[in-house]
């Protein structure tokens, strides 16, 4: 019955995933700082400027929380529950000195990203914030390992891209996983290894590019005034992601952090959030 498989494959390949545009509305923003009131307000001002794109035609409500407003994770969660913001803005290692050792995000951000459904904008730590990292969002990069069908990621990333700005849709295939599968394929006599490699790579890239094309058309037809670029890369996942962020000079990196299969943060998002510390990250 190989012919049935052949035709099913042809039809499955022809069944494209359409992009579903949804307008993202952010009505209130909660800024969480662990510094005193003055520094927290200063961070809030910086963020207002950085996120000017969110003010577009909307009356966004801002609330600034300083270090004295909470001292534990449950207290912060209670604040979030009361405020029910559309976006939380904060930075790594709240109420901690461990920002000096860049191996975690700190317990507050860890819990906020997983225990709430609210997207979290993680900006560089105040002690490490370079001057040029939070000017605007004219280059936003949405990054994932499997972009196809991830409408929310694209919609959020598009919402954070300034008018006339660039939205870079980036999909990175981890070549170590791919090579491990190909090594197994190479041991199966009934599969032509060379054509399998070419066909799989071709199919992977076509599916992603088709979806990226659908996103571009969908955003254009919805009248979103941004340009959409697509980037498809394969390699060491973290190195490639970092390289792409630098290469495109991204102002904001957007990622999914929720993973239905686990309590911990998404497998790509966590290491990337730890490694990419120089620009803000929007963790959905």
């Amino acid at each position: 019955m190989t012919k049935v498989d052949q035709f099913e494959s042809v039809f499955r390949a022809a069944a494209k995933t359409p992009f579903a545009y949804r307008s993202v509305e952010v009505e209130s923003i909660l800024v969480v700082s662990d510094r005193d009131e003055e520094e927290a307000r200063s961070l809030g001002e910086q963020l207002r400027s950085f996120l000017s794109v969110l003010q577009r035609g909307e009356n966004v409500r801002w609330r600034i929380v300083h270090g004295g407003d909470y001292g534990t994770v449950p207290e912060l969660l209670k604040l979030v529950e009361e405020e029910r913001p559309g976006l939380i803005c904060t930075y790594r290692h709240l109420h901690s000195d461990s920002w000096r050792w860049p191996y975690t995000l700190g317990e507050y951000v860890d819990v906020l990203t997983q225990a709430t459904t609210t997207p979290v904008l993680v900006v560089p730590h105040p002690e490490r914030m370079p001057d040029a990292t939070m000017e605007n969002t004219d280059v936003v990069m949405a990054m994932t390992d499997h972009l196809v069908g991830d409408h929310a990621l694209v919609n959020w990333a598009a919402r954070f891209t300034e008018d006339g700005g660039r939205l870079v849709l980036a999909a990175v295939e981890d070549d170590s996983t791919f090579e491990r599968f190909m090594e197994t394929v190479g041991k199966i006599p009934s599969i032509d290894t060379r054509s399998a490699r070419e066909d799989i790579l071709d199919r992977l890239s076509r599916d992603v590019r088709d979806y990226m094309g659908a996103c571009r058309r969908g955003l254009a037809s919805a009248g979103v005034p941004i340009s959409v670029e697509d980037v498809l890369a394969a390699g060491h996942r973290l190195r490639e992601c970092r390289r792409l962020v630098e290469e495109h000079d991204a102002d904001l990196l957007v990622m999914h952090t929720k993973d239905e299969d686990q309590l911990a943060m998404h497998g790509l998002a966590y290491p990337l959030a730890i490694e990419v510390r120089s620009i803000p990250l929007l963790l959905l």
Binding site: M1, F7, F11, R12, A14, P18
Partner: protein
């Protein structure tokens, strides 16, 4: 048909068939029965058809060499004495070349993306409405079965059905869709002379031209298709979408199919489309086209296959691998077995039985031939039966002592019976077997008895319509 048709204009110059004792005839009849039983239990034997019939061909030839006066040749062909083994002229190479050529042609043409393009366009045209989808896929199954062959049609439409119903979240309807499509392949297989192997065998033996076949068969195919689809929609509760929101959602889902995804070269796509039309025209007019009429439909099929293969000249071997060699080997061996059975007077013996059925009268007798052909075809392969009956009927005297005319209802009762019998059981035809395989592939439970329970009402209606059509309308 085998030797006599294959050697038109030629005759064995050596041995001449002589008397065969009744005991020897019954011995060979036993071999034939054993062959039919083995084919019926092909799945249980875990052996391919070609091997089963091949074993019987070897045994029959050895027994024939020992017990029968076989015409070993040399053979006189066009005034030339040609030596060849007795089993070579036994094979009807015209039939083999039609199947080989058409199969290669369809395989190469499908690489152009043409058939998938048509299938996806129809899916989109349905708007994703289940009832419209059933009608569109049903009609597509009939047309593809007629133009290509019923196995290829079932594979294309069946695989698209599985993918599109999955996309539409209607997998609960998959069993009904596939079953109706499987049944329609055998209806579509009646549309033209080359749509199914029994048509080719009986049609060529009767001397029915492509156009005559189409004109005679198409009214039945139209009516049977409509009734099968109406019945299928009712039995499997396939209903149209009632509200506008549901229709919009379904339309959006089917609109996400890209019919151009499978097209690698736009030029080859159009070339394939043009060649398909030319192929149908050439086959339809083969009997009246000068030069081609002498070379036959097998030549047309092979010529078109070779022209298409030029596009893939450096990888033709990949297409050779896709040819159903089991089917071709099965035919070749089957023709050999039938040839030996002819010499052993087994066909004459069966002929007496058929004559007894025909003797029931022009209406009852012909109807009984159709029903018994359908019943026999439902439990074993319809090709040996068609080949045997074609040979037996060809030997029967028609009005004025000559052969039966192509319009004789007897030919048509065998054609209709052999095709429609395939709708009674899952092993009755290769295409219903494909439908069941796709059903099982998608994790749906359908037993042999379950198939029969669901299919018999359809098959009965179709056979009744066919009987009325052949006996009173045609």
């Amino acid at each position: 048909m085998a030797a006599s048709l294959a050697l038109q204009g030629g005759q064995a110059a050596g041995h001449v068939a002589g008397e065969v004792s009744g005991g020897v005839t019954f011995l060979f009849a036993g071999v034939l029965v054993a062959l039919i039983v083995c084919l019926a239990f092909e799945e249980k034997l875990h052996a391919k058809k070609s091997l089963i019939v091949g074993v019987f061909a070897v045994a029959s030839l050895l027994l024939g060499a020992a017990l029968l006066p076989m015409p070993y040749g040399p053979y006189l062909i066009g005034g030339h004495e040609i030596r060849m083994p007795v089993y070579i002229p036994a094979v009807d190479w015209g039939v083999i070349t039609i199947i080989l050529g058409a199969s290669l042609f369809v395989d190469v043409t499908s690489r152009s993306g043409l058939f998938t393009w048509i299938a996806i366009r129809l899916t989109k045209a349905s708007g994703g409405d289940p009832l419209r989808l059933l009608w569109f896929y049903g009609v597509m199954t009939v047309v593809f079965s007629a133009v290509l062959n019923n196995v290829t049609a079932m594979i294309i439409v069946g695989s698209l059905t599985a993918v599109s119903l999955d996309k539409l979240n209607r997998k609960d309807k998959l069993l009904g869709f596939l079953l109706v499509e499987g049944l329609l392949t055998n209806i579509g297989g009646l549309l033209t002379l080359i749509s199914s192997v029994p048509n080719i065998i009986v049609g060529t033996a009767a001397g029915i031209s492509f156009m005559a076949f189409f004109v005679k068969a198409s009214p039945f195919v139209l009516v049977a298709t409509i009734i099968t689809l109406i019945l299928g929609a009712r039995v499997f509760r396939v209903e149209g979408l009632k509200d506008e929101a549901g229709r919009a959602s379904a339309r959006a889902l089917v609109d996400s199919f890209d019919e151009n995804d499978g097209i690698e070269s736009r030029g080859f796509f159009w070339f394939g489309a043009v060649m398909l039309v030319l192929f149908i025209v050439a086959i339809a007019t083969a009997s009246v086209t000068p030069l081609v009429s002498d070379l036959g439909m097998g030549f047309v099929a092979m010529a078109f296959a070779i022209v298409m293969l030029v596009r893939f000249k450096d990888e033709v071997d990949s297409f050779y691998r896709t040819v159903d060699w089991d089917l071709l080997g099965f035919f070749a061996a089957l023709f050999m077995v039938i040839n030996v059975m002819e010499h052993a007077q087994v066909l004459a013996l069966i002929g007496h039985g058929v004559e007894a059925i025909i003797g029931l009268g022009p209406t009852l007798g012909t109807g009984a031939v159709m029903v018994s052909t359908a019943a026999f075809s439902s439990v074993t392969d319809n090709i040996p039966l068609a080949a045997m009956l074609a040979k037996i009927i060809a030997a029967m005297p028609g009005p004025g002592g000559g052969p039966l005319p192509p319009t004789d209802p007897l030919w048509w009762s065998v054609i209709f019976g052999a095709n429609l019998g395939g709708n009674i059981t899952p092993i009755g035809s290769a295409s219903t077997l494909v439908a069941v395989t796709i059903i099982h592939k998608h994790g749906l439970h359908l037993t042999f008895a379950g198939f029969v329970r669901k299919a018999v009402p359809f098959a009965l209606v179709q056979i009744v319509i066919a009987a009325v059509y052949v006996l009173w309308v045609m």
